[in-house]
Symmetry: C2
Subunit: 75 residues, 2 copies
């Protein structure tokens, strides 16, 4: 599963994950803060600035992640 994901340590902040979506026109980067929060940068088109930025708490990120991985169930 490690293919297509570039992980970089951000000293004092956390980790940055650059996820290759195998298309020139869409890309996602996630900064996972050591404190738990996740910043999600969505790039669409060919712009080098993010099209959308989400600031998620750890709990919110888990919720979105569960939907994406297909492991979300109604509580």
């Amino acid at each position: 599963m490690g293919q297509g994901v570039h992980v970089q340590e951000l000293p004092g902040i956390g980790k940055r994950f650059d996820i290759d979506l195998e298309r020139p026109d869409q890309r996602v980067s996630v900064v996972v803060h050591a404190a738990g929060g996740r910043d999600v940068y969505v790039f669409t088109g060919h712009d080098s600035d993010p099209t959308a930025v989400l600031e998620l708490t750890e709990e919110q990120a888990r919720k979105v992640g569960a939907v994406l991985t297909g492991t979300f169930f109604d509580g």
Copy 2:
């Protein structure tokens, strides 16, 4: 974990998950197609049109989801 996620059946297509991020200025909807693909709609600001749309394969969605849930490990 079901709190804050509204699930709707889309007959013949799959399921739509509206994820409340507890902020008026950011929202995520995911359409999980029965065939596996996921369309991700990111809304930031107060626009009713999505700020960014991602078309992910099931594998790509799992990758992004694993990063978000904190279960991604280098392969």
